[in-house]
């Protein structure tokens, strides 16, 4: 790192001194200014003294646990939180994200992944205004897209599971209604950074999405514009 000053201030909250040590050492080595706290009371003190740019918060701690601390920080409009937890199952992740965590990493994590998440959270915070609450749901025509659970609910209340490819694609559509999107645009927007899906896969996924969105009314929510691309034709709302 060649920056003359630190990339950001990170507060590590974990009851295990070993974890605090390795995290402080690792993030410090990569150019972050790191402070550590053994519990949420120490965390509050540290935040009062010098607000960090991001908090890396353990979930299971003696005293107040990470989830309730996360909820509290979120409610108070505090710094962004990355939950780091030994309870890495999908439900725990969902609960963490629903309570306002910006990201969730299971223990043991790849150190470089933690680094990437810290960077991403800091970048997002710089881009979006402080007050914007994270969106948990998107809706269209009575359908509800749960961004945390990555699930779709039909107007009749039936849960329709999506593969991650379908979810990414549908999210792109719902966030850009009534616009013609070319196949290339869809690929760029929907594909995760490290994916190498083919061009063809978009068409397959769109036909699958259409089937899942078919409520029997015969109305096409995703319309094909010949020679151009696709249009998402639905009334949307957050």
């Amino acid at each position: 790192m060649t920056a003359e000053e630190s990339l950001g201030r990170v507060l590590v909250v974990d009851d295990d001194p070993g974890i605090r040590d390795v995290l402080t050492e690792f993030l410090g080595r990569h150019g972050y200014e790191v402070e550590a706290a053994a519990d949420t009371r120490a965390m509050d003190v540290a935040i009062d003294e010098r607000p960090p740019d991001v908090v890396v918060l353990d979930l299971m701690m003696p005293g107040e646990d990470g989830l309730s601390a996360c909820k509290r920080l979120y409610a108070a409009g505090g710094p962004p939180v990355i939950m780091l937890s030994a309870m890495g199952e999908e439900t725990d992740r969902i609960v963490g994200l629903e309570l306002g965590a910006d990201d969730y990493l299971p223990k043991p994590c790849n150190p470089r992944e933690l680094l990437a998440r810290v960077r991403a959270v800091l970048r997002r915070r710089r881009e979006t205004s402080r007050a914007a609450a994270p969106t948990l749901f998107l809706s269209f025509d009575g359908w509800k897209l749960d961004l945390v659970r990555r699930e779709l609910s039909s107007p009749q209340g039936v849960t329709v599971n999506l593969s991650s490819g379908e979810f990414n694609l549908l999210r792109v559509f719902v966030e850009r209604p009534e616009r013609v999107l070319t196949r290339d645009q869809l690929l760029d927007l929907a594909r995760p950074a490290n994916s190498d899906a083919f061009d063809r896969a978009i068409d397959v996924q769109i036909s699958r999405l259409r089937r899942k969105l078919d409520d029997g009314s015969g109305r096409e929510i995703i319309r094909t514009i010949r020679g151009e691309g696709y249009v998402f034709a639905a009334r949307t709302g957050a």
């Binding site: 150190p111 659970r149 991650s164």
Partner: protein, 502 residues
């Protein structure tokens, strides 16, 4: 706790039922005895017999048809000679004396035969020797009084005690059978005689014969049977209602217990029904509570072990970050494998305890999303999504079932082929592979937690032996099951059955 419905103990209810049945049967029988009208007498009058002998159809008071047959030979009873009765009726003031004498050589013959024969001949207006009579069901006490000279009062008393064939005439009650041969048409038409056969010799030498009707059941037998049937119907009705009332809470209890068995986190049962059932419900709830606490304790233990293991693993993962690349990657792979085992243990423990939120969900979409995601990691999975199959369940848990089953197929047979269908209100997911299958005795054992086949033990990717156990636990918590079978064409089939929504 709801209000106690049907709260009496089963013991009391059964006792009450028995008593109620007994009382109602007795009441019906008593009512039959007291209030049913007398059945019409079995016999018929001289006039009826005469009409029948002359060839007219006659219906007797008891409802039977009396019809004469014409034969060329006399009936057996007509061949015997007639005894000559001597009957006198003397009146002295209010006292009347009745006397009858029958010739001794016909002692075995019914004494009424000649009397009736004579009356019949009179009614037919023919000579007595053309008429023969055979009285059926002789009732000797009729005549005992007649055989000796008696006062009218004695006869009356005697008849009151022993006979039914009595008619009322002015102030005196008179036994018609023997007496009223000289008392005119009233007696002839009104008096009923015990059933008798009669034969009339026609002018052309043939015989007109009437035989008394032989009903299958006599009037009193029919009446008894009617009361029996009525009481049986009443008992059946009472028993039906009582059995339903008694069975309903037990049935409800069994159903609720079954639901509880499917989902250990289900809410406790409500107290309803007879005292015994309520006691059972209470015991059941207590047992359920203990079981839940036990399972929860165990999960908590596994979770804390997992947590405690993951913390040093995390430290290790960070500490090797500075190590040479080769070592770092190998250690990282080991850490990943250990973490996988911890995840499997956690998932298994959670499958038993979690009170996941359940919702109506489209199983077809769920399976196809899992298949898509697994295809992206390079697994060869075949699945043709058909019509939506709706189930009520927890999406994450069911996803894990599908993932685990596909994982197994891919791990041991390199590829999986899925099919999902709805049959008889059940959603059936089949995960087939083209591997070498399993010996029959392993098909159930592989569901035991931590059990691994030799093949699974030898692979480096081999898990913890919890994948199938977890899948089955989750499926059972949804009221379904997972089973394995060898496919006829080779390979293994994992079949998941879940209750489907209408």
């Amino acid at each position: 706790m709801k209000a106690n419905r049907g709260g009496l103990p089963i013991f009391v209810q059964l006792l009450a039922l028995a008593v109620l049945c007994l009382v109602s049967v007795q009441l019906v029988n008593l009512a039959g005895v007291l209030f049913l009208p007398d059945p019409p007498p079995e016999g018929f009058s001289i006039a009826d017999a005469a009409k029948a002998l002359q060839g007219h159809p006659v219906v007797t008071p008891s409802g039977h048809r009396l019809l004469a047959e014409v034969t060329s030979h006399p009936p057996a009873f007509a061949t015997r000679s007639l005894p000559i009765p001597v009957i006198t009726l003397t009146s002295v003031g209010a006292q009347r004396t009745l006397t009858k004498r029958v010739s001794d050589d016909n002692a075995q013959d019914d004494p009424l035969n000649p009397v009736v024969a004579e009356a019949l001949a009179q009614a037919l207006n023919v000579e007595p020797d053309r008429v023969r009579v055979q009285v059926h069901h002789p009732q000797p006490h009729f005549y005992r009084a007649v055989d000796m000279a008696s006062t009218h009062d004695e006869i009356t008393r005697h008849m009151r005690e022993h006979t039914r064939l009595v008619i009322q005439m002015s102030h005196a009650t008179v036994l018609p059978d023997q007496v009223n041969l000289h008392m005119g048409a009233v007696m002839k038409d009104a008096a009923l005689f015990p059933p008798f056969a009669a034969a009339l010799k026609l002018p052309d030498g043939r015989w007109s014969v009437i035989t008394p009707p032989h009903p299958l059941l006599s009037a009193w037998q029919i009446r008894m049977m009617a009361t029996f049937t009525a009481s049986a119907l009443i008992v059946i009705l009472i028993a039906w209602f009582a059995a339903r009332r008694l069975a309903r809470p037990i049935h409800a209890f069994a159903g609720a217990a079954e639901r509880l068995g499917a989902d250990p986190q289900a809410p406790p049962l409500t107290f309803q029904g007879p005292a015994e059932v309520r006691t059972a419900v209470a015991a059941f709830n207590e047992m359920q509570d203990k079981l839940r606490r036990y399972v929860n304790d165990r999960t908590l233990m596994i979770a804390s072990i997992a947590h405690d293991l993951r913390t040093p693993l995390t430290r290790l993962r960070f500490r090797i970050e500075g190590a040479p690349l080769e070592i770092r990657d190998r250690v990282a792979a080991d850490i990943e494998q250990m973490d996988g085992m911890i995840s499997a243990a956690l998932a298994y423990a959670r499958g038993e305890t979690r009170s996941a939120e359940r919702a109506r969900l489209d199983l077809t979409a769920l399976v196809s999303s899992v298949v898509e995601d697994m295809r992206e990691t390079g697994a060869k999975v075949g699945f043709d999504a058909g019509a939506p199959v709706l189930v009520f369940g927890d999406a994450l848990g069911l996803k894990r079932v599908v993932v685990n089953l596909i994982d197994n197929a891919v791990k041991f047979a390199d590829a999986a082929s899925l099919s999902l269908s709805r049959e008889d209100g059940k959603a059936i997911l089949r995960v087939d592979d083209a591997g070498c299958g399993l010996p029959a005795d392993e098909l159930e054992r592989v569901f035991e937690p931590f059990y691994r086949t030799d093949a699974a033990r030898s692979t480096t990717t081999g898990g913890f032996g919890l994948g199938l156990a977890t899948a089955r636990t989750i499926a059972r918590a949804h009221g379904g099951d997972v089973t394995l079978s060898n496919r006829p064409g080779g390979g293994l089939r994992a079949e998941t059955v879940l209750p489907a929504l209408g």
